[in-house]
């Protein structure tokens, strides 16, 4: 830490960590999958941050319009059979869906880092116990469990959905992180840190974690993807808050009102498309990170195929 502080003021030579960060950025920009994923994610972030810029409707859940209007200049995607503007609901719904994905993804990742790395680092009996827990959580079918948990805990609060997503979403990442941490355990640079007499917490935080960044990022994206799809599924089944504004809630009401059969397909197709797009953006970023981290998987350049 002190070494970093002393080198950073010397502005003449850019410190190496900066250059490495630029390298990752350049790699992301050069990878077409990552770029598409990033653009989709960026658009949704803007929608979530300032929804009022994209629609003149301020209360999207209010039954303010004539029901079941077809798409027009005034209502871009028409209105629901209850008399709400579909476009406005879509725009305002972005925030909750995005926040659930990011928050649940973040906490699930933190949990998997904690469990996975401590299991690998502690070894012995602790590792046996932790990996047993990981494996059990991996195998138990989570979605039925989520449905049951959400029912018992009382339908309708976003907090319940979040907690349930974190509890059921961490095990896959923990398994992967544990495997990578195990392979790192006996590397020389960790051995030298131990010989230097560094504290255990320092070794884990400052030596092990940075080498695992790409896997942690990939796990975050995977957990976010899982959260987007699962939260939408839960809300679609009516286990979310039916009065909240989110894509999953829109899907619930459109199914409830038979939107497909009564000639308002946009009502259920549009929010579904948004869930799919957000999911796709996480999946593309995840896959691209895999390619950046593991060059063997990258698409082969054309010239080699021609040779």
């Amino acid at each position: 830490m002190t070494a970093l502080l002393t080198t950073s003021p010397s502005a003449t030579a850019p410190p190496s960590p900066r250059r490495r960060g630029g390298g990752i950025l350049r790699a992301v920009l050069r990878n077409r999958k990552a770029l598409i994923g990033l653009v989709i994610f960026g658009v949704f972030t803007v929608l979530a941050a300032v929804p009022q810029l994209f629609t003149s409707v301020t209360e999207p859940n209010k039954l303010a319009f004539p029901p079941a209007l077809p798409p027009s200049a005034e209502h871009w995607l028409g209105t629901t059979s209850l008399g709400q503007d579909i476009w406005a609901q879509l725009v305002y719904g972005t925030r909750q869906s995005l926040v659930i994905a990011l928050v649940a993804g973040f906490f699930a990742t933190v949990l998997s880092v904690l469990v996975g790395i401590s299991a690998a680092y502690l070894g012995g009996l602790a590792d046996d116990v932790f990996s047993m827990i990981i494996n059990i959580f991996l195998i138990i079918p989570t979605f039925p469990l989520i449905i049951i948990l959400a029912t018992y805990a009382g339908k309708g609060t976003t907090t319940v959905v979040l907690v349930v997503l974190v509890v059921t979403g961490w095990s896959y990442g923990a398994n992967q992180l544990r495997a990578q941490a195990l392979s790192l355990r006996n590397r020389d640079f960790l051995e030298s840190a131990r010989v230097r007499g560094e504290r255990r917490s320092y070794i884990i935080l400052a030596e092990m974690l940075p080498t695992m960044t790409s896997l942690i990022v990939a796990n975050f994206l995977g957990a976010a993807l899982y959260s987007v799809l699962t939260a939408a599924g839960l809300q679609f089944l009516g286990l979310g808050d039916p009065n909240s504004i989110s894509w999953g809630t829109m899907l619930y009401w459109s199914q409830n009102q038979q939107a497909l059969q009564s000639g308002m397909p946009l009502w259920s197709i549009a929010p579904g498309l948004c869930v799919a797009l957000l999911g796709v953006s996480f999946a593309l970023l995840n896959y691209a990170f895999d390619e950046i981290g593991n060059p063997a998987l990258r698409p082969v350049r054309r010239r080699r195929a021609a040779a």
Binding site: P141, A153, L251, Q255, V275, A283, P299
Partner: protein
């Protein structure tokens, strides 16, 4: 042998953990099953019958928790699953589950296995021809399809093939009520027609993951020395591809298949809900709607057992296919 024993031990332990979670969730969550039951059966059942039903559910508030727990475990194993307190009030759960089980096994089972096999074959081909047309298009396509929500794909298919084509393919239920069930060609055809859209939904969303993992396994395997050795020996490409590379690349996918069944079940619940397909997933949805706690518990247990049994089968298959897993012990 030690490998098999260890896997069996894991099977028992996980089953026990799932059953225990199942036992304690209703007891730790706010809102007791008892209250829900009282509210639901108001004026319909005498207090004595209610008491008896709760007993068969393993819920005896006056007894100590340890005894309740042991009783519950025993009931789960002996198939003494109690009666439904949902819409089919008083009906034995074994009967309700027995009616729904074949439909889920037939629809979800077949669609999942087909997706797995097709995905693995496509993955082998894509990984083998690095940089070919297949390999440059497929990964992107399948990254997208594997991130699509199950229910949304189902809704789209209903829109395209049922609503817009004027009922070209049926969009709900397992067979038409006008057709008499039985082993007649007419009935079988009708069941198949009803299974097309939900089956396709599961297939489309599940196949992508298998293509991607199989392709990546294939690429890793193709870099192994024994592949180079095979080439040096002058083996045909076909032989290297199928007997050397694909066989080894397939092993991790096989254990991945069992592990993924939990996800498949979650998708199946949504698909059955979208298509009103009367399988176990639809049953779970209804049980939740009616706060039918005994049915929910049994369904969750069955889903866990289904995943665990397939994990065990895949473990055995791995032990049989891969001598290394036996040697490691």
């Amino acid at each position: 042998m030690r490998y098999v024993l260890r896997r069996l031990g894991f099977f028992v332990l996980t089953l026990w953990a799932a059953l225990t979670i199942n036992f304690f969730i209703p007891r730790f969550m706010p809102g007791s099953p008892l209250q829900a039951l009282r509210a639901r059966t108001f004026n319909k059942l005498s207090p004595a019958a209610l008491e008896e039903m709760l007993t068969s559910f393993g819920y005896k508030p006056h007894e100590n928790v340890g005894v309740q727990y042991l009783d519950y475990l025993g009931h789960m194993f002996t198939g003494n699953w109690g009666v439904s307190i949902g819409s089919a009030l008083g009906e034995p759960i074994t009967k309700i589950v027995g009616q729904a089980l074949p439909w889920t096994l037939g629809l979800v089972g077949v669609a999942t296995v087909l997706a797995f096999l097709a995905g693995s074959v496509i993955g082998v081909l894509a990984g083998w021809r690095r940089g070919g047309t297949l390999d440059s298009i497929l990964p992107s396509v399948f990254v997208v399809t594997s991130a699509l929500p199950y229910f949304w794909v189902g809704l789209l298919l209903i829109l395209f093939f049922s609503v817009w084509t004027g009922g070209w393919l049926p969009s709900d239920f397992n067979y038409d009520s006008s057709v008499q069930p039985g082993f007649t060609p007419e009935f079988i055809l009708d069941v198949l027609r009803h299974a097309i859209l939900p089956g396709l939904t599961i297939f489309i969303t599940a196949v992508g993951g298998w293509v991607l993992t199989m392709r990546n396994n294939m690429i890793t395997t193709l870099a192994e020395d024994y592949i180079r050795m095979g080439r040096a020996k002058g083996l045909t490409n076909r032989k290297i591809m199928y007997q050397y590379a694909a066989r080894n690349a397939f092993l991790p996918n096989l254990s991945g298949f069992a592990m993924s069944l939990g996800f498949v079940i979650s998708g199946a619940i949504l698909v059955e809900y979208v298509f009103n397909y009367p399988g176990l997933g639809y049953l779970l949805y209804n049980a939740v709607q009616n706060t039918d706690y005994p049915l929910m518990q049994v369904l969750f247990m069955l889903f866990t057992v289904a995943v665990l049994v397939s994990v065990l089968l895949c473990d055995f298959a791995t032990a049989w296919l891969d001598p290394r897993s036996r040697a490691k012990g």
